[in-house]
């Protein structure tokens, strides 16, 4: 049952990460269009967030139990807080950025880093910690890594397809951003509790 909940949360985090990229594109389009320039900045921002998040998560997973626990709580709090900021103030921020920065690439850099980078980085910190969790339960590290990233990528695919073909056609982007916030809050609360049992082992 615990493992089922664990994999469910891994899938949900995958859904949140990549589904958020499609929502981000819908947020950006009215302000910067839908040209290849927009997609280049958006995809690069998400990949940079995945990269930094994975490295931070790897570092956190090797901390002493008490520090690791603080790192997990900080990661979850940053993810929820920044998703909340994107939901509440994302559009207003984009309207300001669009006017403030004349050069489009600079404006896109500021928008992508300012609104989307932190939540995705924070979500990504949990990947290596999930690997650590499985390894701590006796799964060989290589296998644990393969399983976690494999399941997470399935979640990524589900996130893209669900967002593109079900959610965006039926719901407002603003509604979906609040949905992301609530799902992140619930799933990260569950994951932090699961990881705490691992830390205490």
């Amino acid at each position: 049952m615990t493992l089922f909940a664990f994999y469910l949360v891994v899938i949900i985090l995958g859904i949140l990460s990549m589904g958020f990229q499609l929502l981000a594109s819908r947020l950006l389009n009215p302000h910067f269009g839908s040209s290849i320039i927009v997609w280049a900045w958006l995809i690069s921002t998400f990949l940079a967030a995945f990269s930094l998040g994975s490295m931070l998560g790897g570092w956190i997973s090797n901390l002493a139990p008490a520090a690791r626990r603080r790192g997990q709580l900080i990661g979850a709090a940053v993810a929820v807080l920044t998703l909340g900021l994107a939901a509440v103030g994302g559009r207003a921020a984009l309207a300001w950025i669009e006017v403030r920065f004349e050069e489009m690439s600079v404006a896109l850099l500021v928008a992508c880093v300012g609104i989307f980078f932190l939540p995705v980085t924070a979500l990504s910190t949990f990947g290596p910690q999930c690997v650590q969790y499985l390894a701590g339960r006796g799964t060989p590290p290589g296998k644990a890594s393969g399983v976690v990233y494999g399941v997470s990528t399935l979640g990524n695919i589900a996130g893209v397809m669900l967002t593109a073909f079900v959610l965006i056609p039926h719901f407002r982007v603003s509604t979906l951003l609040y949905l992301w916030l609530v799902v992140a809050l619930v799933s990260l609360t569950g994951l932090v509790r699961l990881l705490r049992t691992s830390s205490s082992l």
């Binding site: 389009n29 009215p30 839908s34 290849i36 056609p169 407002r172 982007v173």
Partner: protein
């Protein structure tokens, strides 16, 4: 210098066809489109490929470049009945500049500014369809909405004709965007949009236009599925009664002779499908599932 890669690509593509300047079919994959340029005699067509078929984007008759080959480009001139003196026109979407040449000839003092997203479309328009931009017909390469946001000028006609095959960029179909367009219209300016009555998007699009513009007139292009919506931001005077419009003869110019029959354009006026529009949804920046409303089941498949 920036045009060199496109010119080179076009030249290489030219080598792959039977012979440039004669009948030929060329294919171009650009940043945003998969395009086919076909020349048959003096007719050059620009088509967008999608889902195994092709949508006619534009066509020009090189023996008479002023001729409006594609039917809907004639209906765009319906805007004349609402604003008979277009001095400043903004067009979003270049295609093969099928509309531009007659307009520039008929109104030599007017400015026709075009915004096109795809630089290769502009290059093909110049190299294959022999469009020569002038100081009065400049072309800017950028997103149409970005141009309208950043350019603070006022326009007598603002024509929206932006497609990528069967795809309409969602941010060009929202209430917020139409409000931005309305803000750029002169007091008696006309917003003109090329719509497709065969798509599920049509009714939502009309409802969205009506949410911004108090008066809307539709021109149903003969048998093609295109509908040209002309909308204004004022309530008075009433513009929806064609019997009160200027007489077509009073609007005709020498350049129109044999090319543009304004009597026929006036006869294209169709009623707004009120009941169907009531079922549509106003599209906004927050909710615009344009891709799922099947933008163009048939997009100018014939002339």
């Amino acid at each position: 210098m920036r045009r060199f890669p496109f010119a080179l690509l076009a030249a290489l593509s030219c080598l792959s066809t039977a012979a440039c300047g004669q009948d030929a079919v060329e294919h171009f994959d650009t940043t945003y489109n998969s395009l086919t340029v076909e020349r048959r005699g003096d007719i050059v067509e620009l088509r967008a490929r999608f889902r195994g078929s092709e949508a006619l984007e534009s066509a020009v008759d090189l023996s008479d470049p002023l001729r409006l080959v594609v039917a809907y480009t004639r209906s765009l001139y319906g805007a004349l009945f609402l604003q008979p003196q277009p001095k400043r026109v903004l067009m979003v979407g270049l295609g093969g500049a099928g509309f531009h040449r007659l307009f520039a000839e008929a109104y030599p003092q007017a400015l026709l500014q075009t915004v096109e997203l795809d630089p290769m479309v502009f290059e093909l328009c110049r190299n294959r369809m022999q469009f020569k931009p002038t100081a009065n017909t400049p072309v800017s390469i950028m997103d149409g909405r970005m141009f309208i946001k950043r350019n603070r000028e006022q326009w007598d006609w603002l024509i929206l004709d932006a497609f990528r095959g069967d795809f309409v960029p969602p941010h060009l179909k929202t209430e917020e965007f139409y409000r931005e367009c309305a803000a750029r219209l002169s007091d008696r300016g006309v917003f003109v949009s090329n719509l497709h009555a065969t798509s599920d998007l049509y009714f939502s699009d009309l409802k969205t236009i009506q949410a911004v513009f108090p008066q809307v007139v539709l021109f149903g292009v003969d048998g093609r599925g295109n509908v040209i919506a002309c909308a204004v931001k004022y309530r008075d005077p009433v513009i929806t009664d064609p019997t009160k419009w200027p007489a077509p003869a009073s609007l005709s110019l020498p350049a129109f002779a044999g090319r543009l029959d304004l009597e026929k354009v006036r006869a294209e006026v169709i009623p707004i499908p009120v009941n169907d529009v009531a079922r549509g949804r106003v599209l906004s920046d927050d909710f615009a599932p344009v891709e799922f409303l099947n933008a163009a089941k048939t997009n100018n498949v014939g002339r």
